[in-house]
Symmetry: C2
Subunit: 344 residues, 2 copies
């Protein structure tokens, strides 16, 4: 359907409305405009984006000719462009789903939640229920969870006021990615609305609609270790830099990086016989039983880059059991990571 490459533009009262869809995710926004005569058209989205990106700083005049050949004229300053489109009447307009408001959260918090979980979602299309971000709302809490089977990220945020209804649904990671790009950060509220097999996010004049992924999300609570054998506190940036360096010589051996604490030092190391090896010591505060454990460095770097905390708290349960990372002293974000089995 070539028209799906087009963006819909239509006049409203004192506004123009833009819509785009891939039949799974849809976005629309209204922006203030002085409308002298009504009209609508669809035009190639990529071309229109490029035109808009290069317009000079000035008011833009849009003039649509609906009869064939369907065109829009974009005039701005000394510049004038006429672009061929397709009739607005051919655009696949999904009926507005009947939806009910679930809860409200600020744009900044919602974007942060997406950023801290989405990278853990799976890209394996044979298990579609893992390719989304699990969104749970109940009472005074909204949660997002994503997992690819090897690691899991869970972020909680308090709701005030509390949710109007319960919700749990798997939202495609692609939608979440586009949502995070489209949302304004800051304090402007986003309303989460639930419809049949769909979720709708509304922020001001922006409306993002997405189908939900069918299926049962894994029992994520079961995955989170309830006890630990060793707890390590370490400066996040120091750990990130060290893991990044040590992982250079792990690239050709599945990114395996080893960790071991002795006293107030954690030794991070890697070894790829045909390439070389690396070793770095990082100051830590540790308690509990010492052990050797190995992780995939990429999975660690992913989370260390979004932890947003000066201190990282690492809890280990054994060389074959999942460890956890969380921001030091906080309980609103947890990352569960299966070790690599190099220590038998």
């Amino acid at each position: 359907m070539p028209i799906l490459n087009n963006v819909f533009l239509g006049s409203q009262k004192n506004a123009i409305k833009l819509m785009a869809t891939d039949l799974e995710t849809g976005m629309q926004i209204s922006i203030p405009a002085t409308v002298t005569e009504g009209g609508a058209i669809t035009i190639p989205a990529r071309l229109f984006t490029e035109i808009v990106a290069h317009l000079p700083e000035d008011d833009v005049q849009l003039q649509v000719k609906e009869e064939a050949p369907t065109t829009i004229e974009v005039a701005c300053g000394a510049s004038s462009m006429e672009v061929l489109g397709l009739p607005a009447t051919d655009f696949p307009l999904a009926p507005e789903p009947e939806s009910e408001a679930v809860c409200e959260v600020t744009g900044e918090l919602l974007r942060g939640m997406i950023r801290q979980t989405i990278f853990s979602a799976s890209t394996d299309e044979t298990r579609p229920f893992l390719t989304g971000v699990y969104l749970l709302v109940e009472g005074k809490e909204i949660k997002m969870v994503a997992t690819d089977g090897g690691r899991l990220a869970l972020r909680r945020v308090s709701l005030d006021p509390p949710a109007r209804q319960k919700m749990n649904a798997i939202v495609p990671a692609k939608t979440m990615h586009e949502l995070a790009r489209a949302l304004a950060g800051g304090e402007e509220k986003v309303t989460v609305n639930l419809a049949e097999k769909q979720v709708v996010f509304v922020q001001g004049q922006l409306r993002v609609t997405s189908r939900l992924i069918a299926g049962q999300f894994p029992n994520y609570q079961q995955v989170i270790p309830q006890e630990f054998k060793q707890r390590i506190r370490v400066n996040t940036d120091r750990l990130l830099q060290a893991v990044r360096r040590v992982s250079i010589t792990a690239r050709d051996s599945a990114n395996v990086v080893r960790f071991e604490v002795a006293g107030a030092k954690m030794t991070i190391s890697s070894n790829t016989p045909e390439v070389g090896r690396a070793r770095e010591e990082v100051e830590v505060a540790a308690e509990g039983e010492g052990m050797q454990v190995a992780f995939n460095a990429k999975y660690l770097l992913d989370v260390l880059g979004v932890l947003d905390a000066e201190e990282t708290q690492l809890e280990l349960t054994g060389p074959l059991s999942p460890g956890t990372l969380r921001p030091g002293g906080r309980n609103d974000y947890i990352y569960v990571l299966a070790p690599v089995r190099v220590y038998a």
Copy 2:
């Protein structure tokens, strides 16, 4: 030859020397070091680059083990890495060519000359003599010229003191690209040296050696129009923005953008029947006979981005004859551009 992917490291008196080569271009540099014991090794360049890029801010200790397995240990702060290399004795050391100094020019000027000409060189390997930048030195002037047959860029710079000898040689564009990246900008002088079939650029401890391209460079002077029918002066940034916008609807029709001056307005336009059309007016100061002419927008955008002048002077000779662009009021840079034949 896998060792060509490696960089050579060897100790000197109070310095270490780094060398790399692809057998056509070679680079070497010495950097100050405290040498306690001599040694040399070659190690994978990409791996070494990545290690160095991620080292903490601190002194670096290098320790080479020359006997098999040949390794280098890189220690810095709390970090230590050991990387496998290949013996320095296997590195293809080209004999230092006997070269004679030709002239001196500052790093900033040489980089500028490369930037203003290199994009006009051809990428067509069937005409190797067009894939380089022609370097001419004589008396009080150094010139660079590059052309792909459709356009030509010529940049001149005055030499003080004058050249010690004449030179004309075609240097591979690839070398020029790497040279511009490696040179320090600013006032530090670069010496151009000529050897048999080779050119050597030296700036401080940096030494870039390149083979020359055999063949006869086209008679570039013949290509530069000596007269014009219309001369147009226009604000460079205004022209650049307008051409960029108008070219959006020219993408699918060979980037053809049309120009025509009436009075103090230049109209820039494009038209691709199945996509759309664009038109923009730009204020100009024009003299001479008015005409219609079309150019490849990409070729114009290339030069407008490196012209480094508030005003562009455009001289037209006819719809089928080359036009020229130069920085307003200056004669040290000229760009010759064949029109696209859309006006019969």
